[in-house]
């Protein structure tokens, strides 16, 4: 079991460019979560999917951010027209679901917007 895999580990973009972050959950896990981590805001919930369906995106910024889960083996977080304030570590986590709420996290993608 390789755990949750996130790619790339580091991404540098210029202001206004698009960034796509990838997450491969643990095989057999039905729920996938995205969190954002910054020094100032700490760990912020962004969105989550259960059985590939979007369930709660209450933490997602209303503009420029979108997440998808096209199949059970990966999810993407896309940020359009990146801004310096988007710089953060983006963490993906998965869980078994069905009341088993333990999250297993990937190592994260550090996004730097110049």
């Amino acid at each position: 079991n390789a755990g949750v895999i996130q790619t790339p580990r580091h991404k540098v973009t210029g202001k206004g460019q698009e960034a796509t972050l990838w997450c491969e959950p643990i095989s057999g896990h039905s729920a996938v979560f995205w969190y954002r981590q910054t020094i100032v805001q700490g760990l912020e919930f962004l969105t989550y999917f259960r059985n590939q369906a979007p369930i709660d995106d209450s933490g997602m910024p209303k503009e420029r951010f979108s997440a998808q889960m096209p199949n059970q083996s990966h999810s993407t977080l896309k940020i359009q027209s990146t801004q310096p304030q988007d710089s953060a570590v983006y963490l993906c986590a998965s869980s078994l679901g069905g009341g088993e709420n333990t999250l297993y996290f990937g190592a994260g993608t550090r996004l730097s917007v110049l």
């Binding site: 989550y48 369930i55 963490l91 088993e100 709420n101 333990t102 999250l103 297993y104």
Partner: protein
Amino acid sequence: AQSVTQPDARVTVSEGASLQLRCKYSYSGTPYLFWYVQYPRQGLQLLLKYYSGDPVVQGVNGFEAEFIKSNSSFHLRKASVHWSDSAVYFCAVSARTNTGKLTFGDGTVLTVKP
């Protein structure tokens, strides 16, 4: 909505000393409770969790935590710390639903002096 407070942003202890990291939560009912640890440039790793039953739960590497409902607390303890325990520790709370969405505290940076 639930929330978590970790009142100590930084804690420094000497190797071999005992440790307590404080966590208080806000939730109307009995929640699921977690402690995670984050080492530099890594994702979060589960230390222990409380779902029900014995309020004292054992985790990895000699950590334990005690759920005290009357005090809305879930403090983390270790009898004797090692320099390798230096990391950031996060307390988290989840509602007793199928959601699986965790709310995290701001974290406590633990430094163990040799």
